[in-house]
Symmetry: C2
Subunit: 438 residues, 2 copies
């Protein structure tokens, strides 16, 4: 039986997992595919690096691997837009099916790559691009094919979730937990891609492709990270019955525009997402027919991600073997869809501000919120202890913290109210506004 | 474009959902399949019953629908072993692909049906047979194709989960909650299939097919229901930091035999399964590569189940259209596998007994347990209040309750110890033993 041959571009954490799983399970995978799966080439930047793979397979020439007519499938686990984008376009143009874990590439060029795959009647599979081992791409692409996704909320960045979990459990600051996470390898030396929400925004764009057939650019997704969260926010959130999670959210509004955003949010303590801690990822899907679904699993790591890559590889190889490449995403209709106007949506908000401990401050804040149509549902004041008010140079110790939950309020009004409040001399630093997502 | 034609056998709760979803999403499904999907025949028992379907499609003759050469796919949502089994065998033999939601049929004849499908190179898909809207079949069959499932724990019977949840929340007895559930339609008039665990055992057999390639009969699965659970068990479980859930469990033992069982169990209060309440279902999978995964969703209902049926229908129709029927389960190797010897496995146990309030009773019980190699990790005694001991005709009010958690103990030893204890005159009624599953 003629083997199905694949080239592996990249042999780092995920790539070495792919080698391990395809080697270990070779006989079973061959049975499921109907032909042996042959690892034909491993393309790396540096051939001299020590690796547990057959050195005869190693090459530094991606273009040659892609041009090799005996190679059926290209598996890309390098990441980044360039050169991976160029490689995958070339592979698709040459009629090879592609498996990729590259969320940043898909977020920007997903629609173009999907049409290229359709044009050349080959498969493009990307389970590993979102949620590591979680079968969320498969679920959206195939399982909910006859359903309508009302909303989707994902904990899709393990670094953010790990940091928030430790901040909560240890009452520790963002900076100290970030430093610890960097030491443990759970956060990058340059952490911005993760902790400022960009990675989650990439993943949200990939999810929006399948949940809504929507071509959205990461730059169109309002994105906030977790740097503004403080240990007291976890404490107050818990007091109100919530946990704080960094979420990627996609939902259809009443007028069927798409409301996409990435930000930390309060989730009810009893909601399934609230108990997803540490480096775990999860995606909660509300669909019209299926109702609520939650998928929880490891969001990163060598074997968890490789499990998703190899599952795609088997799908793609099986189609290839049967002579029907291109079935996986056949008929997916990716279009530009109207996005909800910025800051146009309503939510219940958690607001936290530090103010000087001075009579009349609360009245002025309540007045400012009221003027902006933001109505307070409940409120807690803490600290102060009778000390004199301090000016803008005062530290947190010398101020009171006011925390509140609002009634439903439009984001634009909340932001305007806080801009006004933050400009007052009795307010210290920047106030925080987090949505309640339930 | 020549349509793909399917016959629907059964048009009850699930069948009407299938009609609704395929009608509502006809254009999109046609795009994904590459051909229109045509509902060619609806086979029902009673044509005169009021239904929201085209009456011209209705028929009472399943055999004629199956024999019709213009029909490509048979979708069966009738349930039960007979005549569904005969129909599906005939359909497969005639080269039609089959989609079924029939767990009791698959539990008994799954291996035979799968080999029939392989022999005739057609697809057999059954996502809706376990977990309603949850994509667990797809996950085990395709997503974890290169992984090794260490264990699988499922809340797969919504009736049991609903009853246990209400018993816990309302401190109510099994009988009263069962009656309420029957009134609400969450339990059948004849509830045994659900509350005695047989339905969950059927589903476990289906899951074992895909997770372990194992042909197991429901009669080989040690099966307990939830009738013996009392409200005090929920209270004590909570005190020890657990919730009580009715689980279907499959795991590989150290000697690679399969340990399969269905029973109520204690799960840690913080574990994802503990928060799966009411009619929700969930499956927690521990896999070697992917790590821990949890899938949560609606376990029953018209549209939730139909979502799974139609997802299968689209897979099967797409393969059919491409001329490659039979790919879905290609190469699945279903064999008889050694099962763990009955009562041979170790666990931590929750034991609850009612005893006469008499001096020395606890010492005798501890002695009996010790003699059977069952060691107590913690113990709580409650009730009694100094009243005199009563004999076997005494009611619960006049006795003490002793509840304990053991250290790891072999089931056979625990059962033998309890048999001995229950035969003592100072023990009232039957003692309860529940595993801790964590």
């Amino acid at each position: 039986m003629k083997p199905i041959r694949f080239a592996l571009l990249g042999c780092g954490t995920v790539g070495s997992g792919v080698v391990e799983l395809t080697t270990r399970n070779a006989a079973y995978l061959a049975a499921r595919i109907g032909a042996p799966l042959e690892l034909a080439r491993i393309v790396v930047r540096d051939k001299s690096k020590a690796r547990k793979v057959d050195p005869a397979l190693l090459s530094t020439d991606a273009d040659a691997a892609i041009a090799d007519p005996s190679i059926d499938i290209v598996v890309e686990v390098v990441g980044g837009e360039d050169p991976a984008g160029r490689w995958l376009e070339e592979a698709l143009r040459r009629g090879k099916s592609v498996v990729t874990a590259n969320k940043s590439l898909l977020a920007v060029r997903g629609p173009a790559l999907l049409s290229l795959a359709a044009e050349h009647k080959v498969d493009l599979a990307f389970e590993a691009s979102v949620g590591g081992a979680i079968p969320v791409i498969r679920t959206l692409r195939d399982h909910l094919v006859a359903d309508w996704v009302r909303s989707l909320r994902g904990i899709v960045n393990g670094t953010c979730n790990y940091i928030l979990t430790r901040m909560r459990d240890e009452s520790a600051s963002f900076d100290s937990v970030l430093a610890a996470a960097q030491e443990l390898g759970y956060a990058e030396a340059e952490p911005s891609l993760d902790v400022d929400g960009h990675d989650a925004a990439h993943k949200l764009c990939v999810l929006a492709l399948l949940a809504y057939g929507a071509a959205v650019k990461p730059s169109e997704v309002p994105t906030e990270g977790i740097r503004a969260i403080e240990p007291i926010d976890h404490r107050f959130a818990a007091r109100f019955g919530f946990g704080i999670k960094h979420l990627a959210v996609a939902r259809e509004t009443k007028d069927r525009s798409l409301d996409l955003r990435v930000h930390p949010a309060l989730v009810p303590a009893r909601a399934p997402l609230a108990s997803v801690d540490g480096v775990l990822n999860a995606i909660a899907i509300e669909a019209d027919g299926a109702g609520s679904q939650v998928l929880v699993g490891r969001g990163a790591g060598s074997l968890p991600t490789a499990v998703s890559v190899v599952a795609d590889l088997v799908d793609v190889a099986r189609n290839r073997r049967a002579g029907v490449a291109g079935l996986l995403t056949h008929g997916l209709d990716i279009t530009r869809r109207p996005l909800a106007a910025p800051q146009s949506q309503e939510a219940i908000w958690y607001l936290r501000m530090r103010v000087a401990d001075r009579p009349g401050v609360l009245a002025q804040i309540a007045g400012a919120l009221g003027k902006h149509e933001v109505s307070i549902e409940q409120l807690v004041q803490e600290g102060g202890g009778g000390r004199r008010a301090v000016d803008r140079t005062g530290t947190a110790d010398e101020s009171r913290v006011i925390v509140m939950l609002t009634h439903d309020a439009v984001e634009r009004d909340v932001r305007a109210a806080l801009d006004y409040v933050d400009a007052q001399p009795f307010v210290h630093g920047r106030s925080l506004a987090l949505r309640v997502e339930s």
